[in-house]
Amino acid sequence: MLGKGLLQGLAVTAKNLVGSYHDPARYVTQEYPEVQPKLPEAYRNFPFLVSETADDPMGTLRCVACQICEKECPPQCIYIEKSKDKKPDATGKAQIYPAVFAIDTAVCMSCQICVEVCPFDAIKMDQEFAIAATDRFGGLLLNREQLAKPNAYYHQIHPTEAAEVDERLAAERRAAEEKARLAAAAKAAAPKPAVPAAAAAAAPGAARPAPAGSTAPAASAPVDPVPPPAPRPPSP
């Protein structure tokens, strides 16, 4: 009969009207500024750079300016300048570091490919989303200092993943130390004093940092192991 469907519809809306007062399934609003969203661990928004410590973020960046992420970034929102000199990284090893590292969050599409391709676990995805700005360049173009966040922060937002990364890095470091120890032992056994280790490390071509290249990649890494390529030729 005419009207049955209409009444059925009215019943559904009435049920929801009443339900909104007692049934949480029918009152789903999360009042945002007061109630912050419960972000899942996997949530990603924009990349940040991991530094080992909070005190000296610039000195302890894991990034060695290999520029893989810059090359792989689909929308080309990463810009890196290699340093001319080297600085000791967190482990004390002399490394090239990014003199300029900028990410234009107004271009970034949060695809996470930079994270996947980074062999140094130096760039990770942040979860901060309330970054609306009134200024296009001043507010949304993030430089090295703004991007650097300590490892502790990484642990805070992605605890499981960060623990895995730490474990992997520690294993790599141990392996590197073991190798260095063996090399030192071999050197000691050799009759003639060899070239100082620091000089060897500084030689062109050896600029490739030790950790990732020298050890087998962890099985859990989702990306295929690609050794860092030779540095890009400087742009014309």
């Binding site: 810009y79 590292f101 900028a102 234009d104 001043g138 430089n143 090295r144 742009s235």
Partner: protein, 220 residues
């Protein structure tokens, strides 16, 4: 469904004046296609649609392809008379020639009734400038209507017999065919503070005044 070779032979027998060529596919997908000479394309298409065994009633996808003119460097071996008595000396000579480019349209045909496919048809234009006309297959399959308009818009292939051949994605006053490989984009790249080299060059062309050392420094 019959094999592409059998289909080619059947088409050749059915349409004597039409050239049907099997185009190999190097990828593991093994999707081999048939290149048809433009003159006979529509007849072949209609045959494929109406043939009871094939019943290719659906043209799923229409694609334009662009192959610009390219320089081919060939090594030509020439044998010259060598030292008297000895064997002729083979001299390798490199010669370059320009292989003329062409535009190509690819049709992916499936049969909804018989649940098979794809049969892939291809047709080439004579060149990329003046001989760019191909017969439209819209009279055979309605699904080609917008897709052929798109190929016309983005590649510049003119479809003869298309009921409404206009630009579809770009605006009517637009001049170029942007999907062609040699299309030069307008230099309006965002003048980013983090420009990559090529962007920088483009932007500099576009905004000559900006080439001077600027007042604003990038934030890093």
């Amino acid at each position: 469904m019959e094999s592409p070779e059998a289909l080619r032979d059947r088409l050749l027998a059915r349409f004597p004046g039409v050239s049907v060529e099997l185009v190999p596919n190097g990828s593991p997908s093994g999707q081999v296609s048939l290149r048809i000479s433009p003159a006979g394309l529509r007849e072949v298409a209609r045959f494929l649609r109406d043939d009871a065994a094939l019943a290719l009633d659906q043209c799923s996808n229409v694609t334009g392809l662009d192959s610009p003119d390219r320089e081919v460097v060939e090594t030509v071996k020439e044998s010259q008379p060598g030292a008297p008595g000895g064997p002729p000396v083979v001299i390798e000579r490199k010669q370059t020639r320009i292989e003329p480019g062409h535009l190509e349209v690819v049709y992916h045909l499936y049969s909804v009734a018989r649940r098979h496919g794809p049969v892939i048809l291809r047709a080439r234009t004579g060149n990329r400038t003046d001989a760019v006309t191909l017969p439209s297959l819209t009279p055979v399959w309605r699904s080609c209507e917008f897709q052929e308009r798109e190929v016309f818009d983005l590649y510049g292939v003119v479809f003869e017999g298309h009921p409404d051949l206009r630009r579809i994605l770009m605006w009517d006053a637009f001049a170029g065919h942007p999907m062609r490989k040699d299309y030069v984009e307008p230099d309006d790249y965002e003048w980013e503070p983090t420009p990559h080299g090529e962007v920088l060059a483009k932007a500099r062309r576009h905004y000559p005044s900006a080439a001077a050392p600027g007042a604003v420094q990038p934030s890093p």
